[in-house]
């Protein structure tokens, strides 16, 4: 609303009947709502049923009294101007498409209803909108299934954690070498067993300059070619079949030699196919100074292990060793309760005069200690107060 009009409202409060909208403190008492009868006299004589119109008709004795319809001249100049403007803007705001759509919808609805429309008396037989509470019976669509980025069960064992870190390091080194985007390795959720075995056999020899590209030491030339070939496919469309083809022959060679390290042959449910530990620990000293490498490493590592890294932890991490340490610290939380700590403390166990309780000692415990609990309970039972 324009300021002048607002002022107008203030000064001529009787225009729209909104008398108490803006009232200054001086004239507040004057602006109190007056009786309706008195208000009817004021203005708007132009409306047909107003009191002034009635009076005019009575005076003239006809339904169409002569003279001006509104003896007061109708609305003022400013009011009329404002009204016109307001109407124009409102019309402009309505987009033509919307109005058309509304019109068509209204006409479509109206067309069939015009002939045989019967208002329904009950809800039976009416079309349902939504599920009306039975939504959980409906099978989920393919798009609604949630697949977790991380593994469902967090990995806490130390050997498995280092396995995951080792795998991540090997993968990232290869991606560095091939010059591919580092995080695209996360598209491969799990490798084939033979590929994993190749990765597992690969050693990490950290270079002096901290480069990730030259850190790999393959078991043999063949393995290097295979790994490079596999990782060239990562990020492409048909990854899986290629990997399977390549790994077929490698599988045959290595299957016999490395069965000793596999603890559990039922690798389908086991993470890392039952492997329990890494072959060397050279990967631990690799640095994560490069932010892109650090991000890629943490992303892949958290995907493999299921651990989340909060921002402060990410900020403080500089080497792979720290990542593994951090996750291990998370995995074994300290005993929180003091009672457990004291009970586990060997200094207390040798003390004959110290007694540590894990629970709060109540009055009933005191009764039991003094040997009167049985008496109390017997008496209570005799009176029927306890069962």
């Amino acid at each position: 609303m324009r300021p002048s009009v607002r002022l107008l409202n203030l000064e001529v409060p009787s225009i729209h009947g909104a008398r108490s909208l803006y009232v200054c403190s001086v004239c507040r008492h004057e602006a109190r709502p007056r009786p309706i009868v008195a208000r009817q006299f004021l203005r708007n004589a132009s409306s047909a049923n107003s009191l002034t119109e009635k009076v005019r008709r009575k005076i003239w004795g006809t339904d169409n009294p002569p003279g001006l319809k509104d003896p007061y001249g109708g609305e003022g100049v400013i009011e009329r101007k404002f009204k016109n403007k307001h109407a124009q803007t409102v019309v402009e705001e309505e987009t033509p498409e919307a109005s058309q759509a509304l019109d068509t919808a209204a006409s479509e609805d109206a067309a069939p209803a015009a002939d045989d429309y019967e208002p329904a008396t009950t809800w039976e037989g009416l079309d349902r909108v939504g599920h009306l509470g039975r939504w959980f019976d409906i099978a989920p669509a393919a798009t609604e299934v949630y697949e977790s980025f991380q593994v469902k069960k967090k990995i806490t064992k130390q050997g498995l954690l280092s396995l995951a870190a080792h795998q991540t390091v090997v993968e990232l080194c290869l991606m560095h070498k091939l010059g591919k985007p580092l995080t695209s390795i996360c598209e491969v959720v799990e490798h084939d067993q033979s590929v994993f075995k190749l990765i597992w056999k690969t050693k990490i020899v950290p270079a002096s300059n901290g480069q990730w590209t030259a850190a790999l030491e393959y078991p043999d030339k063949e393995a290097e070619e295979a790994l490079v070939y596999i990782f060239e496919q990562v990020g492409g469309q048909n990854v899986a079949p290629e990997i399977e083809e390549v790994t077929q022959d490698v599988d045959v060679e290595d299957a016999r030699s490395d069965t000793t390290d596999i603890v559990d042959m039922d690798g389908s449910k086991q993470p890392f196919f039952g492997y329990q530990r890494t072959r060397d620990n050279g990967f631990l000293s690799l640095s994560l100074d490069d932010p892109a490498t650090k991000f890629a490493f943490l992303k892949r590592f958290s995907q493999l292990t299921g651990h989340f890294f909060p921002d402060p932890a990410v900020h403080s991490i500089t080497t792979v060793q720290q990542v593994v340490d951090y996750v291990q610290n998370l995995a074994k939380p300290k005993p929180k309760k003091l009672a457990e700590y004291l009970a586990n403390n060997p200094r207390y166990q040798s003390m004959p005069n110290v007694k540590v309780f894990a629970k709060r000692q109540k009055r009933s415990d005191r009764d039991e200690e003094l040997g009167r609990k049985k008496l109390i309970e017997a008496e209570l039972r005799a009176r029927g107060l306890i069962e």
Partner: protein, 137 residues
């Protein structure tokens, strides 16, 4: 020697022969969650073993008291007990409080004027005008 009445059975006077510390039990209560117990938890972790070793005659009980301030409670031979709230205190201060409870006698605090309380009857007897070396009557 004057006539003496029948002597009563001697009442216990701790310390004349054997000495028994009046504090027989100390209860340490703490809360795992509350911050006012931080000093108490630290005391129980690090200082209590040495305290218990130094005072083998006192039974020490440690039990949680959730959602309350930490408290040390001393139980005494005379059946009374004394409790000290040790909220927000440092371990050293708590150690001092525990020593205070240990050394206390367990009696209700009283203001006394006389330093000596004796159960013995007067050594020199009650003064009597007809005995003793009176010089003149």
């Amino acid at each position: 020697m004057t006539v003496q009445g029948i002597r009563t059975v001697t009442s216990a006077r701790n310390g004349v022969g054997a000495f028994i510390l009046q504090c027989k039990r100390l209860d340490f209560h703490y809360c795992d969650w509350a911050g006012s117990s931080r000093g108490m938890v630290s005391f129980l972790k690090h200082h209590l073993p040495s305290f218990a070793k130094a005072n083998p005659q006192i039974e020490i009980r440690v039990s949680p008291r959730p959602h309350k301030h930490p408290v040390i409670k001393g139980h005494y031979v005379n059946g009374r007990e004394k409790a000290i709230c040790v909220r927000n205190l440092e371990p050293e201060q708590i150690f001092n409080k525990a020593n205070l409870l240990k050394a206390a006698s367990g009696e209700k605090l009283k203001r006394t004027k006389k330093p000596i309380a004796s159960l013995n009857e007067s050594v020199r007897g009650i003064w009597d005008p007809y005995h003793g070396g009176f010089k003149s009557v």
